[in-house]
Symmetry: C2
Subunit: 447 residues, 2 copies
């Protein structure tokens, strides 16, 4: 029987990063990744298969990163674990002994209680290539695409599927606006405006009741009674932790139906870590379990778990939740709490807002407006969250805001932030959006 | 005689920002800006007049920002100050009474001890439009341009003057590499490579001894004895504080020949603040006087001075120094101490380095490699500095590093940084350069 110091079950963002981190921290340990998929999809890249990138083959996490880090790979499905003997059993009948085990079993799409989900041409977004390839072929000959869910996946799929195709695309979202989990309403309104300019239909405050048709879906019936023509339906209403194996072997499960872990990413078994979408995540501010499922959180988990394998070196400080996306060349990015979520959590909130071009002078090429919203606690001035929309440099500016949040900075401190600026790269130092948004928030607190 | 609650002398980045900040913090106070220039140049935009932007008229800080903030403006030169009576006297004979005064008199180019500097077609880079327009006209008919100094201004002028012109451009730099104040040697080598690919000559480790010719410069004679043909020469060897007025009125001058200020940006006169290039800046780490002159530092100063006018609200934490530039579409950005500067300051240093594409998958449009160097103190792991080169998102990524430095973060903390990533905006969460550079530095510390 094979024996490895470290066995990792799952080979997506969390699994790969856990392996690399294990290798960096424990250079002499043997590491094995067991994964089900022949090829691993870059998870956040999946929507781009349908437009910009063009095929699943061009959206692969290369296995070279494993080889380079001397991590062995077995393509197989882990079906059981003998925790006493520390043995993983696979579908093909293999057994592998481990000293430490990391579970990165990921997530699976939430299957909502909608009638007719089993009809042909109805797709869930999984990470399996055959499913994604079948969807690509279907979308290519589709005339009427309905996407259920207006979160990041739904919006990105709508934007991408519209590219280069003569196709009607409709998003159906229950909330009043799209992207409402990460952004306040104004951003959802802005996203909708952009989508509509691209001739994408957005239906909000409505639910999907049934998918009608014979074998193939033909119509989507909404809660409001409205019916929409559809030859393809994509379910994009979120994901839930894949805890099948963890439950089977009796690990503790947390209140969000994810594998319970401590600050070191250790499960209830002292030789088993869990990280990524399958593991429970706590909010940075409240310490309460959070429904956040992001590749960036998964890799953060993995950098903790991998470092802690043979000695507890790192603690999870809780998840801030940092998002970004691009809709028709406009960036939307968010970190931490929205205004709405902060108030719901009991904070008294002030919001500072600033807009400026991302170049100076405005005649520099690539000029685009960028707006920053900074959500602060009244009184302390603590930065609770931030949102950016406009120029694509927002993709990194949101990480500046994330650094300010994790450094427990206040609006007063951000107002004198030590920024770097350049005509071809950023706003002017006078107009720099983050600093001015902080100054506006600080001003409201003095009133 | 006019009386204002706040009078600001100087109307560039520091003056404008001090005015806006005064308005925000003290809505009912009257504010006047006295400035010498009819039009204010965006300081960092000046090199781009010579290529990308095309004329000084397109590189102006709009006066609308003053009007919008109810700040009065007088175009005049402040020639004297009666500190007892709190009166500013101008060249045109006007007198203005003030309650609080802010000096933002800026800097002037350093005039090196080179023979022949007064010949025709030799230009200093000042912020005055007539001088900049004359230079533009000269460059437009120039065949052989020599730039003395390979810092940011020198490199940016070389890059821009080469655009759309059939002109020989040569940079002469005394140090072993260009940009050596802000970057370690590898970056200077990379910049030189890019400049040479653009057919720009770079001469390092050599000085300029004399500018030869009759009325007009014809040849630049170097310390090595080499002679270079030149019909235009640009001096770009740095700037010194303009302290003429401060000296005249007897304010204390600091060891860097700048106006001495305390943490509140107050000068030795309790009614006079100073900020920007004319004011002394201290290093963030050592607290020692620093030769840093940056628009971003000037605006940070101004946000402190403006807030402190009628009550001390903010303290200067010292300057990190955050730089960025673009050379032929490649971004170079730096924050804090270089490896060399950190060692010179007495730190034992480890450097973590990581390179990855700024997109995932690599097939996403706009893909460019980006490298991060993170300079950390051995032992504590404290982030002392960082450098980024490659993709233009480095312009904001350097601000993430600045936030990590000002938050006193360590390599261990940055290794589990809460990043946001997106296929069209950043590296993948597995490969995110900042986090991996931190992990590499942390790894070296464990050895």
């Amino acid at each position: 029987m094979n024996k490895y110091d470290v066995v990792i079950i799952g080979g997506s963002a969390a699994g790969v990063t856990a392996g690399i981190t294990a290798r960096r921290h424990y250079p002499n340990k043997s590491v094995l990744v067991i994964r089900a998929e022949e090829k691993v999809m870059i998870p956040c890249g999946i929507p781009y298969i349908y437009g910009t990138v063009g095929s699943p083959d061009k959206n692969i996490v290369p296995d070279a990163v494993l080889e380079k880090n001397k991590i062995d790979l077995v393509i197989d499905v882990a079906v059981d674990i003998d925790r006493d003997k520390r043995i993983v059993k696979t579908a093909s009948g293999k057994e592998v002994e481990y000293d430490k085990l990391i579970l990165t079993t990921g997530s699976k799409p939430i299957r909502p209680p909608i009638e007719g989900l089993d009809k042909k041409n109805v797709f869930e977004i999984t990470k399996e290539v055959p499913n994604l390839s079948a969807l690509l072929e279907t979308v290519n000959s589709s005339k009427d695409l309905v996407i259920i869910g207006g979160g990041f996946i739904g919006v990105e799929f709508a934007d991408e599927c519209k590219k280069g195709r003569n196709i009607n695309v409709t998003i159906v979202e229950m909330q009043p606006t799209c992207l409402s989990g990460a952004f306040d309403e104004y951003a959802g309104v802005a996203v909708e405006k952009i989508l509509k300019e691209r001739d994408i239909n957005v239906i909000t405050k409505d639910s999907v009741k049934a998918l009608l048709g014979d074998e193939k879906v033909q119509t989507v019936k909404l809660g409001s009674g409205k019916e929409i023509k559809a030859d393809t339906v994509i379910l994009a209403i979120g994901a839930k932790a894949n805890i099948d194996l963890a439950q089977k072997i009796g690990l503790e499960i947390g209140s969000t139906n994810s594998i319970q872990v401590d600050k070191h990413m250790l499960t209830s078994d002292k030789n088993i870590f869990a990280c990524g979408d399958c593991a429970e995540t706590l909010y940075f501010f409240s310490g309460k379990p959070a429904p956040l499922k992001l590749a960036s959180i998964a890799t953060m988990h993995a950098r903790i778990a991998g470092a802690n394998l043979f000695g507890l070196r790192r603690e999870n400080q809780g998840s801030i939740g940092v998002y970004s996306t691009v809709v028709n060349e406009t960036c939307f990015a968010a970190a931490g709490l929205t205004h709405a979520a902060a108030e719901k959590a009991g904070y008294e909130v002030v919001v500072g807002e600033a807009t400026a071009p991302n170049r100076h002078p405005g005649g520099m090429p690539g000029m685009q407006e960028m707006t920053v919203h900074l959500i602060c606690e009244k009184g302390t001035g603590k930065i609770l969250g931030g949102q950016v929309y406009g120029a694509k440099s927002g993709g990194e500016l949101i990480n500046v805001i994330s650094a300010c949040i994790s450094g427990n900075m206040t609006a007063e401190q951000v107002a004198v932030f030590q920024l770097g600026t350049h005509p071809a790269l950023t706003a002017s130092p006078i107009a720099y959006q983050l600093v001015n948004a902080a100054e506006m928030a600080a001003g409201k607190m003095r009133q």
